[in-house]
């Protein structure tokens, strides 16, 4: 089958990949559409040392099992289900887990992918394939209110107007916080303005150390130090993006201002699917381009060289 594989030499579109064999508890999905995430770009740069088929944002048709014939998305953490961490209700942190398209498990930039049946969620008919690709990153945005339940009324700043910043901003706007998105691209900020979300160009904004919550979606090391300039003492910094390798950083502001820093990764799929079905979140304006799977290298080139929003791979 056709698949996008990350090899030691780099990214490669293979036409001769073997069709995946489902492991115990797994089913095979026929992939319809997939999305390229900043994490994919980082993986190509060496983050996590991943080798295999990339892709953790995708929608497909289940070929077997109790969802056979239905359109589904898959949670990406494939937990063992038996260890103390799983028993404690945190399968997303199972130390034995694989992560689809990220850690020891092939992903969905392929005509077919094998995933645990327990990880599947059915997509309502009126949610398009394009929209369904956003369930995984949108769930990651919904992880923020699950970690900070008292967002209402809080002065909140999202740093970064890229793919994840856009989704986090829309989700936070549903939770009653006083929200401003600070970014570097007026055309991306305009998408949020059209939804009534307050925005500011970073070059024109003056950090005021008054934010209760800052969500760093910049994907850059400088985002953390910028966040320190916006946060009030005892404020909360949510880290949503990882940066490959070590960065020079001073953590002294965390101690001096007694900040709280919360790492935030994968989130609940249920609220994300509901938000797309009920149209409380609109992802359509975030789609920059669609490439056939065979042109995945051009799609990656698009993501890394132009100020893109979401670039999709059409597999159907």
């Amino acid at each position: 089958m056709l698949a996008v594989e990350l090899q030691a030499a780099g990214l490669c579109v293979r036409h001769d990949c073997p069709t995946p064999l489902p492991g115990p508890g797994e089913v095979v999905l026929r992939v319809r559409r997939a999305g390229i995430c900043e994490t994919d770009v980082q993986l190509v740069r060496g983050y996590m040392g991943f080798r295999g088929i990339l892709g953790h944002e995708f929608v497909g048709i289940a070929e077997t099992g109790r969802f056979a014939g239905q359109r589904v998305v898959a949670e990406i953490n494939n937990a063992c289900g038996r260890c103390p961490t799983c028993a404690a209700g945190s399968p997303n942190h199972c130390p034995h887990r694989t992560v689809t398209g990220i850690l020891r498990h092939d992903g969905g930039f392929a005509e077919a992918v094998a995933v645990p049946e327990a990880n599947l969620h059915v997509i309502p008919d009126h949610v398009t394939d394009d929209q369904a690709v956003f369930v995984e990153p949108l769930a990651a945005a919904f992880q923020i209110p699950s970690q900070i339940p008292d967002l209402a009324g809080q002065r909140t700043i999202v740093l970064g107007d890229g793919r994840l910043g856009q989704l986090c901003a829309q989700v936070l706007a549903l939770h009653g916080c006083r929200l401003t998105v600070v970014g570097k691209h007026s055309e991306k900020l305009a998408i949020l303005q059209r939804r009534g979300i307050e925005t500011a160009l970073r070059s024109e904004a003056e950090p005021d150390r008054r934010a209760d919550v800052v969500v760093d979606c910049t994907g850059s090391a400088s985002g953390v130090e910028d966040a320190f300039r916006w946060l009030r003492p005892q404020g909360t910094l949510v880290l949503k993006t990882t940066v490959a390798g070590q960065q020079p950083l001073s953590l002294a502001p965390i101690v001096i201002d007694e900040l709280r820093v919360i790492g935030s990764r994968c989130g609940p799929f249920g609220p994300a699917i509901r938000a797309l079905a009920e149209r409380t979140v609109d992802v359509d304006p975030l789609i920059a381009a669609r490439y056939p799977l065979a042109d995945a290298l051009a799609a990656f080139e698009h993501v890394t060289t132009r100020p893109a929003l979401k670039v999709l791979l059409d597999v159907s």
Copy 2:
């Protein structure tokens, strides 16, 4: 008067310092004893760019005001009392504050020091001068249970067996957590063992990613990365020590493991004084040496060149 001043050229014992003039709301204390803190060492190395008389751990006799003639210690954050942060009950984070011996306010390595009367706490008679010097750092240790109220039963690791690590460990042991102190000095760990606290030599311990809470008291940049190796997913890292300048660091573990990082600085004086008065915390074994104030340079030499615990300055 005699005082230890940090000048652009370095640390200097001056015999001709003018006696401090109390500002509005301030009283003058005749200092009896003071302690050298890791922060003092960092200040000498350029942290905060402080110039003036050092010293934020001290006990003295109030010369004027409602505590005149009484033996007192002073909280070190000198807040404005009028801004929104003060009104919100966080004077320790007042953006207009000075900090005694640290930020725009002369400290207590001197025969006399002027401090806000509102910051004073009376020391019970049976607490010695030596012990009273520990109120400020011990209060900083009591900040941890004030920030993490549910410590009971939690698997907790203190990294670092130095001055602050010793105090944090004794305070945490009072709060029912399952505590291990990991350090590099068997003679310092022995002090904790004698109090029934479990310890481990870093060179002999294997990080197991099972700790619910790690308190970093190492005062080194590597402490943070070591903490990541001990913490379970979704665990809590308490940062107690600041390091001058930028350090190369990867924050990816915070995101991947959804860690919570809490900066922790100054704490409540009341519990610290009570712990000393009721002898639930024992600071006497932590005293390494006593130097006359005039020999302060030798005292600093002692702190920076030998694996010292607390070095005191005798001012009386």
